[in-house]
C-alpha cells in the first residue's frame, strides 16, 4: 500500500488515536519516513493536542464550584420544605 500526502492527512487523526489497521499504520509510517513535510504536520498536530489537553489551558472560572454547590443546596432545601 503506497500513500500520498493527502492520504496521510486523511488518516492522521486516526493514526494519532491508534485506530488504524496494522497495514495502514505501516503504510503511513513508510510515508512519514520519507516525507518530512508530513512528519512535521504529524508532530505539530500532536503537540497542539498535548497543549490543549493540559489542565492549564482551560481553567474553570474562579468560584465556579462553590456557586454550583450553593445553587444545588438551595434546590435541595427548597424541595425538602
Amino acid at each position: 500500500m503506497v500513500l500520498n500526502c493527502q492520504h496521510v492527512w486523511a488518516e492522521i487523526s486516526n493514526y494519532i488515536d491508534d485506530t488504524v489497521t496494522p497495514e495502514l499504520r505501516e503504510a503511513v509510517e513508510q510515508h512519514l519516513a520519507h516525507c518530512r513535510h508530513c512528519a512535521a504536520v504529524l508532530d505539530s498536530t500532536r503537540n497542539i493536542l498535548v497543549l490543549i489537553a493540559d489542565d492549564r489551558t482551560f481553567e474553570l472560572p474562579v468560584g465556579y464550584s462553590a456557586r454550583l454547590h450553593a445553587r444545588l443546596q438551595e434546590e435541595i432545601d427548597e424541595s425538602q420544605r
Binding site: S13, S44, I48, R56, F58, Y64, Q80
Partner: protein, 237 residues
C-alpha cells in the same frame, strides 16, 4: 507535491489522547449506583458527592457549545439541577458521567437556539462533508513546545481563541475528545452520532487547529517561549 524545506530534528511528545481512556472500575460504577439509589430514596444531600467529580466536565461540555464563560456556568448549574430532578430516570445502560454530559450539551444547544432566535442569527451551515483536499499548514521548523510555556497567558489565549474559532460541530467534538479526553464511543453517545462521524469531525477539527495554530506558534515563538532554552544554551526552536 513540492514540499517546503523542513529542518532536521522535528520532535514529538507523548500524546495523552493516544492513551486509551481507562474504563471506570467496577468500584466506581458500584459506588455511583449505590449513591444514586440512596438519592432517589430521599437522601438528596448525597447528590453533591455524586456530581463533584464531573463538575468540570459539565462546564466544558457547555463551553464547547456556547464559548462564553457566564453562559457556560449558568448552563452547568441548570444541568446539575435537571440531573437531580430526573435522576430517577437514569438507567445504568450508560455511565452516569456520559448521561450528565449529554444533558449539558443538550441544555447548551437549547440555550444557543434560544439566543439565535432572539438575535435572528443563522446557525452554522457546516456539514460533515469533508472536502478531499484540506491542506495542513506548511511549517518549516516545528519543535516541541515546552509545557511550561502554558504558564504564559498569551499562549493559553491563543489556544482558547483557536478552539473558539472552530465551527460548532468541530468545537464540540474537539473539546469532548481532546480537552476532556472522553473516548470515541462515549463522545458519539453524547453527541448522538455514530463513531464514524466523531472520527470524521475530529480529523477536520484537529487539522483546522493545526492550520490555525502552527503558523502562529512558529511566528510568535520568540515572544512566547523566549525564556525557555534547552540545556546547553540552544533554543527550543
Amino acid at each position: 507535491m513540492e514540499s517546503p524545506p523542513i529542518s532536521e530534528g522535528t520532535t514529538s511528545v507523548t500524546v495523552k489522547a493516544q492513551i486509551p481512556q481507562p474504563l471506570p472500575g467496577d468500584s466506581v460504577v458500584a459506588r455511583e449506583a449505590g449513591l444514586i439509589a440512596r438519592i432517589v430514596a430521599g437522601e438528596r444531600e448525597l447528590f453533591h458527592e455524586l456530581v463533584r467529580p464531573y463538575e468540570k466536565a459539565v462546564y466544558f461540555a457547555a463551553f464547547s457549545v456556547l464559548r462564553n464563560p457566564q453562559d457556560s456556568e449558568d448552563t452547568a448549574q441548570e444541568t446539575i439541577l435537571k440531573a437531580l430532578k430526573n435522576l430517577h430516570q437514569f438507567r445504568a445502560e450508560s455511565k452516569f458521567s456520559t448521561w450528565l454530559v449529554t444533558i449539558a450539551i443538550n441544555e447548551a444547544r437549547a440555550r444557543l437556539r434560544h439566543e439565535r432566535m432572539i438575535k435572528f442569527e443563522t446557525i452554522d451551515d457546516v456539514t460533515d462533508e469533508i472536502d478531499g483536499h484540506f491542506t495542513p499548514a506548511v511549517i518549516t521548523d516545528w519543535r516541541e513546545i515546552p509545557l511550561e510555556a502554558l504558564e504564559r497567558k498569551e499562549l493559553r489565549e491563543l489556544l482558547q481563541e483557536a478552539i473558539a474559532s472552530l465551527p460548532e460541530l468541530y468545537r464540540e467534538v474537539l473539546i469532548l475528545r481532546d480537552v476532556q479526553e472522553i473516548n470515541i464511543a462515549e463522545t458519539a453517545s453524547i453527541l448522538g452520532v455514530s463513531e464514524g462521524v466523531v472520527k470524521t469531525r475530529l480529523l477536520r477539527a484537529r487539522l483546522m487547529m493545526q492550520k490555525v495554530l502552527a503558523p502562529q506558534l512558529a511566528s510568535k515563538r520568540s515572544n512566547l517561549f523566549g525564556l525557555f532554552k534547552k540545556k546547553g544554551g540552544g533554543s527550543w526552536f
